[in-house]
Symmetry: none
Subunit: 247 residues, 2 copies
């Protein structure tokens, strides 16, 4: 059995049962537990499953019960503070989901008049709390692992929008561009970038100069990048050369 096959099998089992034990998989597939462990680690690195002592859990399981505290919440709050001034009255704004975006939504001034489009349930929920913001939810089918709407419905609706700004939380960026690892999410993000006049990406510094398997866009499609670091940090030199504003 090929490695890829095996990992596909593991993913399917986790989808089916929401949990699996390394020892069970080992006897089922007839490989050593070490191999299983390595597979599980790889899948966990790709954010496809949650690895725990003794086996692994599906991501939806995790999000439901174990939602832990937000990773690097302080950094994310800092980033959120830097985004808010970019948002002006009467703008049409496309956003993704993610904890940084949620943080931003909470910081929006209550007298702000704007229209927000999002496919993320938590984000929509947050926007809906604000008195003067109009919220449009994009898409119908909700992907559980990412809690956002995915699929053709979402994409085509995004295509019908001409937004002023796209504010996107990202998972990895390096000199080749922005990358991610969930195919469905990427389709949505690509469409969002196309539909917006300007694109702002939000990322904690830890993710800068890392990359993942699937490409979202090149650096030339990004207008602004915001991290928790000072814009003068040398980390950003190469991005500035590509004409990206660092905040």
């Amino acid at each position: 059995m090929l490695k890829t096959e095996r990992q596909a099998y593991i993913l399917r089992q986790i989808d089916l049962h929401n949990r699996i034990l390394s020892s069970d998989l080992s006897t089922e597939i007839n490989v050593s537990e070490d191999t299983i462990r390595r597979d599980l680690n790889e899948l966990a690195d790709m954010d496809k499953i949650i690895k725990v002592h003794g086996g692994a859990l599906s991501k939806s399981f995790h999000s439901s019960f174990l939602k832990s505290d937000v990773y690097k919440a302080d950094s994310k709050r800092l980033i959120a503070q830097k985004v808010v001034p970019l948002i002006r009255n009467n703008m049409f704004i496309l956003t993704t989901g993610g904890t940084t975006i949620i943080e931003m939504a909470r910081l929006l001034p209550s007298d702000l008049n704007a229209t927000f489009f999002t496919g993320s349930i938590p984000a929509a929920h947050e926007y809906a709390q604000h008195p003067n913001i109009e919220v449009i939810f994009l898409g119908d089918k909700i992907s559980k692992s990412s809690q956002i709407a995915v699929g053709g419905e979402a994409i085509s609706k995004i295509g019908g929008i001409k937004a002023d700004l796209c504010i996107m939380g990202i998972n990895a960026i390096d000199e080749t561009g922005v990358t991610d690892n969930d195919w469905e999410v990427i389709q949505v993000k690509k469409a969002m970038i196309q539909a917006a006049e300007k694109t702002v990406v939000l990322s904690i510094a830890e993710k800068v100069n890392t990359h993942q398997k699937l490409m979202i866009c090149g650096l030339d499609e990004i207008d602004t990048m915001i991290t928790e670091l000072d814009p003068s940090n040398p980390l950003f030199e190469s991005y500035k050369k590509h004409g990206i504003t660092i905040l």
Copy 2:
């Protein structure tokens, strides 16, 4: 059972009951009390629960003066418990929003396979937490007052569905039928009733035999009504005459 699973189970129990005893958990999960205690300590360290002598309390319960309590939460939980058995595997279910529905969503067994359609952001959010439930969000424009999707988009999408069940939280019901006071919400509810084979209405007893300004539907379109009271209560006599099952 994996440690992580066990802790998830504990958290869920605490969410549900607001308090639990170490000894109960020990016999339920079949591990030593020491293990439970260690779990509770870990969860308390993570600030997810409040550990007390003999067991633990839910954090939201303990710091409840911060959160707005749900009105008649106990009644609503009772209602929710009565709804759950109506939901079977592979059903297509339309639901509204509202605190009772949210409560129901939390009680859905984790092995339930079903597809839920809703226009309510909080409800969609809750459904999305479940491992085996597919969530379809209806509509795009979100009405802030009710936190649900309203307007033509929502209505037309509902029209395209043939659901097994419509589960609807209502604000008023009397012998003339179900009434409400938000015109946009009513359009959505009407469409939902049309699109479902059977309609179940949920209401706290306080709202029975009251009415509001705008009509949603007559009693003949209702199949089942659920309140927190015993079905034999004389309050329901006239509804039974209209062929409505009381639970």
